[in-house]
């Protein structure tokens, strides 16, 4: 008796949509609130991740790989939309297609380009963007933060690899690096907003405000980095650089304690 009667509480009494009341939930009856990452920020994060890959890529074959991967990411976005509308089967199917797309992009990036160095850099970034997107769909609750972190790590590795192996220009490299940090920050923000406010709340101003601020700051940081480069300090000897890096480490540790 108890279970049935419980279902006929005030919320079940006059709701036409059968599961509408339980799905919305309020604070007290809150376990059913959908806590998935906020959509706007999640989209911005995935776009930033893709930009990070695009910025360091060059050559037609890499573009093809990125195109395939981007289609996969788009499909993952479709999964999220389908999930929001309660179309579970559609979400799973589109999600599988998305993962296949991203992996196809990774495969194309690893095989199509002519040289080994070119083969190495795009797949890593696409894999990172794919993991980030899976974390934000999210493919599984509780995995979001881990997937976003791992995805970001791969994106950064991709940028660093690109910097080492084929010496991309300063601006694309800086832009790619900034975009990967923005992707991580905005992705984490999406998860956090989703946790605190849930899916039904209107949160886009907060999401866009945060993403905009981080991007602006990143842009300013890139400008500063370019200015530093303009000073031509890269000519200093390695010992001096090591000292500089050591000082930077001490400063960072001091900042965080």
């Amino acid at each position: 008796m108890s279970a049935v009667a419980a279902g006929e509480g005030s919320d079940g009494a006059n709701t036409a949509g059968a599961n509408a009341s339980s799905a919305t939930g309020s604070e007290p009856r809150g376990v059913t609130v959908d806590r998935r990452p906020a959509r706007v920020a999640a989209s911005v994060a995935v776009v930033a991740a893709l930009l990070s890959v695009v910025a360091v890529a060059d050559g037609g074959s890499q573009r093809v790989a990125i195109g395939v991967g981007a289609a996969g990411l788009l499909l993952l976005g479709g999964t999220a939309l389908a999930r929001d509308r309660g179309l579970r089967l559609v979400a799973v199917l589109v999600g599988v297609a998305g993962v296949v797309g991203v992996l196809g992009g990774v495969g194309a990036g690893a095989t199509l380009p002519a040289t080994t160095t070119l083969k190495a850099e795009v797949p890593l970034g696409l894999l990172g963007a794919g993991l980030l997107a899976l974390g934000l769909v999210p493919v599984r609750e509780g995995w979001s933060r881990r997937l976003v972190s791992v995805g970001t790590a791969l994106l950064v590795c991709n940028v660093v690899l690109s910097g080492i192996v084929h010496g991309a220009d300063a601006l694309p490299l800086l832009a790619a690096f900034t975009a990967s940090v923005v992707a991580w920050d905005v992705g984490e923000h999406a998860i956090n907003v989703g946790e605190q406010l849930g899916a039904r709340a209107r949160t886009w101003p907060v999401e866009l405000g945060h993403a905009g601020a981080t991007s602006l700051f990143g842009g300013a940081a890139v400008a500063v980095a370019l200015w530093v480069r303009g000073l031509d300090v890269t000519g200093v000897p390695l010992a001096g650089l090591l000292l500089l890096v050591g000082a930077a480490i001490v400063l960072l540790v001091a900042l965080y304690n």
């Binding site: 509408a20 690096f177 900034t178 700051f217 890096v245 930077a248």
Partner: protein
């Protein structure tokens, strides 16, 4: 209630900055060191922003002032920023625990410049009783998200569905008191109690005019107050009472508070003296009284007293109600009182209290919201234990109302009365 937290969400970027810098040095790539510059800038970013100062005001308006049971009531919330810019503001409105949100969300995110306002609405299903909205919880982050301030913004809003509560069947009051007790409190009555300085608003008939003629000072005469038998509504809010049938349903304390609210509403028309007590995180007590203002005071206490918070304790095995609280309750009650004790009967202490009070002459009626479930083994055990406690009470002459909280309490009370139990 304001709490400032450091989120530490930018910690990872220090690792990234060090990583790119280290690779740059090892691989002798100056460009990667430049990435280290950007990384360091991001590491410094959270230190460049300040802790947001939250100064908000909140207004709630209800689509319908006096809805019927089951109606969808639109709640519109408007929040105005009275302070500085808030770049990342998250608001969760304090929906009364007994009301379920039907559409929309009581949660909202906004970016507010000074003087800006944001407004949103959602609908709740109206349920029996008077429901006070809790203060809205506000979380404001600085633009980098490094620090967050959590606080609450209150606005008194009440949603009442009252017309469906029938009159409360009170127990017969016997023992020669005939419903009147002489108290030690001054007021209006017959027997002289004391004189005191005149206070603005004292009735003219109680002013000691002789003394005024003699000394030209106004004094007021107080008589011993005579009071009718008072009903005290007591909520058991011990840690063990915060049980719920399922996680997404209100707990027994929320039901008890709602039940007390329903009784209060129906007793309000009957000119009965009503008081309030709670055993829980702390002891709560409001002296019995009558009149509209007193009822409002009781309602406010029901909605706001910390002992009656409907948020479950973090440690469900805690026990807050000690002998001091029980003694405090017993001291204040006597043969002139009727006690409505709201308790899910989840432990033996409350049964003992009820029996002791009954033995001392207080007429006790236990109203027990049933939050047990037969779905699990633990639930079945709890059901058996509760049945045993109800039996013990009934054997000692204490009526127990076994209340299924999905029904209005009044209906249940009437049903019991027809059966001759209460």
């Amino acid at each position: 209630m304001t709490e400032v937290r450091t989120t530490r969400r930018w910690r990872g970027v220090v690792g990234i900055a060090l990583f790119v810098g280290a690779v740059g040095v090892l691989a002798a790539r100056p460009l990667l060191l430049l990435l280290g510059v950007v990384g360091s800038a991001f590491a410094a970013y959270p230190h460049l922003t300040g802790t947001p100062a939250v100064d908000l005001s909140l207004e709630r308006s209800l689509g319908s002032r006096s809805p019927e049971q089951g109606d969808a009531v639109e709640v519109t919330v408007r929040v105005v920023n009275e302070g500085s810019t808030l770049a990342d503001l998250r608001i969760v409105d304090g929906v009364p625990p007994m009301l379920a949100v039907q559409s929309g969300s009581p949660r909202h995110g906004a970016v507010l410049r000074p003087g800006d306002a944001t407004e949103w609405s959602y609908t709740v299903g109206a349920d029996y009783g008077r429901h006070q909205f809790d203060p809205a919880t506000v979380v404001a982050r600085d633009v980098a998200g490094a620090r967050e301030v959590e606080t609450t913004v209150a606005a008194e809003t009440e949603l009442a569905v009252t017309d469906s509560v029938p009159e409360v069947p009170l127990r017969q009051q016997t023992a020669g008191h005939a419903g009147r007790v002489v108290t030690d409190r001054g007021g209006s009555g017959i027997e002289f109690h004391q004189t005191r300085e005149y206070q603005h608003g004292d009735p003219m008939s109680r002013i000691d005019w002789r003394r005024f003629a003699r000394t030209n000072t106004l004094t007021t005469i107080e008589f011993r107050e005579e009071r009718t038998a008072a009903v005290v509504l007591c909520v058991d809010a011990d840690a063990s009472a915060y049980r719920a049938r399922r996680d997404d349903e209100p707990n027994a304390v929320a039901y008890s508070v709602a039940g007390a609210e329903q009784l209060l509403t129906s007793l309000g028309d009957a000119r009965t003296f009503v008081g309030l007590a709670a055993l829980g995180r702390e002891f709560a007590w409001v002296d019995p009284g009558s009149g509209r203002e007193h009822r409002d005071r009781l309602r406010t206490t029901l909605a706001t007293h910390p002992a009656l918070r409907t948020v479950p304790p973090t440690d469900p095995d805690a026990s807050w109600v000690d002998t001091d609280q029980r003694a405090a309750l017993r001291r204040r009650l006597g043969p002139s009182n009727q006690l409505f004790l709201f308790s899910p009967l989840t432990d033996d202490g409350v049964v003992t209290t009820a029996l002791e009070l009954e033995a001392e002459g207080t007429r006790v009626t236990v109203v027990s919201p049933n939050v047990t479930s037969r779905e699990t083994a633990g639930g079945r055990l709890a059901t058996v234990e509760r049945d045993g406690r109800m039996r013990r009470l009934r054997e000692s002459g204490v009526p127990v109302v076994d209340w299924d909280p999905t029904d209005p309490l009044g209906t249940e009370l009437l049903r019991q009365q027809e059966r001759g139990v209460a």
